[in-house]
Point group: none
DNA sequence: TATGAATGAGATTTCATTCAT
DNA sequence: AATGAATGAAATCTCATTCAT
């Protein structure tokens, strides 16, 4: 079904791994190209600039998370712990990429805008979960919902980048804590 | 009372403003020095490198937050909203600096270590607030407490950098939400 | 036969002339690149740093000396004066380069190691000239042989950098003296 | 008799040690001053520039060698090995300083001129040793004598900086070789 | 006499990006 | 479509040197 990966696909995949390992500011576009098996100039045939490549990587990352989440929801409906595990695992796998994202959001308009679109989608999803109608515009959201998402993300990052462990907090206990928070939110 | 600021103080103050406005990766040491009214070389008489200057700025930032917190606690004991306001205001004022911190933590050993020391101090404080004895080593901590801190920080940052507003969530309502979370934690 | 020179070749050639004229510490990599007709960054596409460029120049210099020596030995077998002339002329032509070498040997590990490899090769050659078997390891050498080489080199340098002339010693007489020393060594 | 050392003396002594340890291009004048227990600016009260300090150090070094040589000649007249030992020991003790000298001679006019004055003094001494009259002008010198001095210096340096040992030549045997050369010269 | 404090002028190196083929 | 080769424009950091006190 899926044909052999295009040059662009290979560039994105290599960039994902490289950003994840070395951070956005820790690599350069020449290395990204070489990591995919291409020459530097090829990079610029497929992306206008470095940021654009990151954006592409980030988009894929978001899609992958949604896909994983949907798979989980089919099997384990209403099991917060399963959701926690999917999300946290995804963050753990891509901890370096997340760190890069946190670098770019305040600096790059496009990345920021995409991150917000993504956030809106999450907020809409939460609203639906709680049986509320989502207004077409999707412009208004609940503070509680946003707080939940932010907590989720921040705790997942703390587990992913080793902060929890470094502070003497068992990462597994933190996952449990997260599941509890989700349940309280849903109640 | 306080003597006139030393060169180092002036460099730190100028670096704080500059990092806050332009991001860590958005300025260079020459600009930091010029912003304080000095020549580039002067910077290196006071800091071994750029990271060291950021670390110094960050230390001051942390001290300032603790001081503000202590002042508040004297007047408004047990008022979560007051605490929320102090912390969030501090994050709002220094949103760019916080963004830079998030850039450096995954990349810079020293910054990371200092951030963790700071986190341990916060965790010890929370433990004391709840009437628990803090073990001398201070090595073990409660998942709940860490989750609270992370939530606090992340929500404060979201208010600070305009993410909440951009998503159609009233920043003030988020503050209220945060205060509620604190109360639940304390109960 | 020889294709057009590569960028690296041109950089090395320009660096040889520039180091020779201005000394290692008397130029910078930007100038080396410009002297070859390239932009500064190009230099770093071909050498990791300034020292590496010097090392490359030095290697070429050593090869050139051996080649000149071999040519001479074919025609003028056993004529010490011919050998003296070849070596001294080579030193005269590259006096500034030799001075740079003397700067770097005590300071740079790689340059030193290469200079010593080169010296071992010379010592092996002398041993063979005197009809001795060179032990495979080539680890042990005669003090007399090393003394000859050092004398040769130092006297050649003194002629090359004008020291002899400045001291009222006729450079040509010094060459003759060197040839005499060689004959005594061989006897 | 000798009063307490002046600031200048202390600067020279500290510079000698520092140049010897770190090379001329491996230190800076600030460090030289600090090593003597003074502030950077003090350095420039006593020397017009960095080279001048090196020149002063070099002068002292030369004087010390002559003094040691004269002491030896009083006791061990006509013992080449004793002379070899004095000179080589002095070179060993100050190997780094000698390396710095070799750096500066081709580059610094004053250092070069002083080195040559010193060389003339050595040549005159050799001429006297062989019972020849030294012409008043001291302008003309024997190639044999200069060759001896250069050999002496170069071999001493090779022992001092570890080159001999690195090449598998016993430094002690080289000293013996040097003594032999002196005897042949004198014969 | 000595210095605390500062600096102008670079040297080395990096990197996002281009362009002729 | 891909690339080999190159680069302009910095950013980080160094160092010999100065000057008011």
């Amino acid at each position: 079904m899926a044909g052999s990966p295009t040059t662009r696909d290979r560039l994105i995949a290599a960039a994902a791994e490289t950003f994840n390992r070395d951070t956005y500011h820790g690599t350069d576009t020449n290395r990204l190209a070489r990591a995919a098996g291409f020459a530097p100039a090829t990079f610029y045939k497929h992306f206008p600039d470095k940021r654009a490549a990151f954006l592409a990587v980030y988009r894929e990352w978001v899609d992958a998370e949604w896909n994983a989440l949907e798979d989980t929801l089919k099997e384990a409906v209403g099991d917060p712990r399963a959701i926690v595990d999917v999300v946290v695992d995804h963050h753990v796998r891509w901890a370096g990429l997340r760190a890069s994202l946190r670098v770019l959001v305040p600096v790059d308009e496009q990345v920021r805008e995409f991150a917000r679109r993504q956030r809106r989608r999450q907020l809409d999803w939460l609203a639906r979960l709680r049986g509320r109608r989502v207004p077409v515009s999707g412009r208004h959201h609940e503070p509680r919902d946003l707080a939940l998402l932010l907590t989720f993300e921040r705790v997942a990052d703390a587990i992913a980048d080793g902060e929890a462990a470094a502070l003497g907090v068992n990462p597994d206990d933190l996952r449990t804590q997260l599941a509890t928070t989700v349940r309280q939110w849903f109640a």
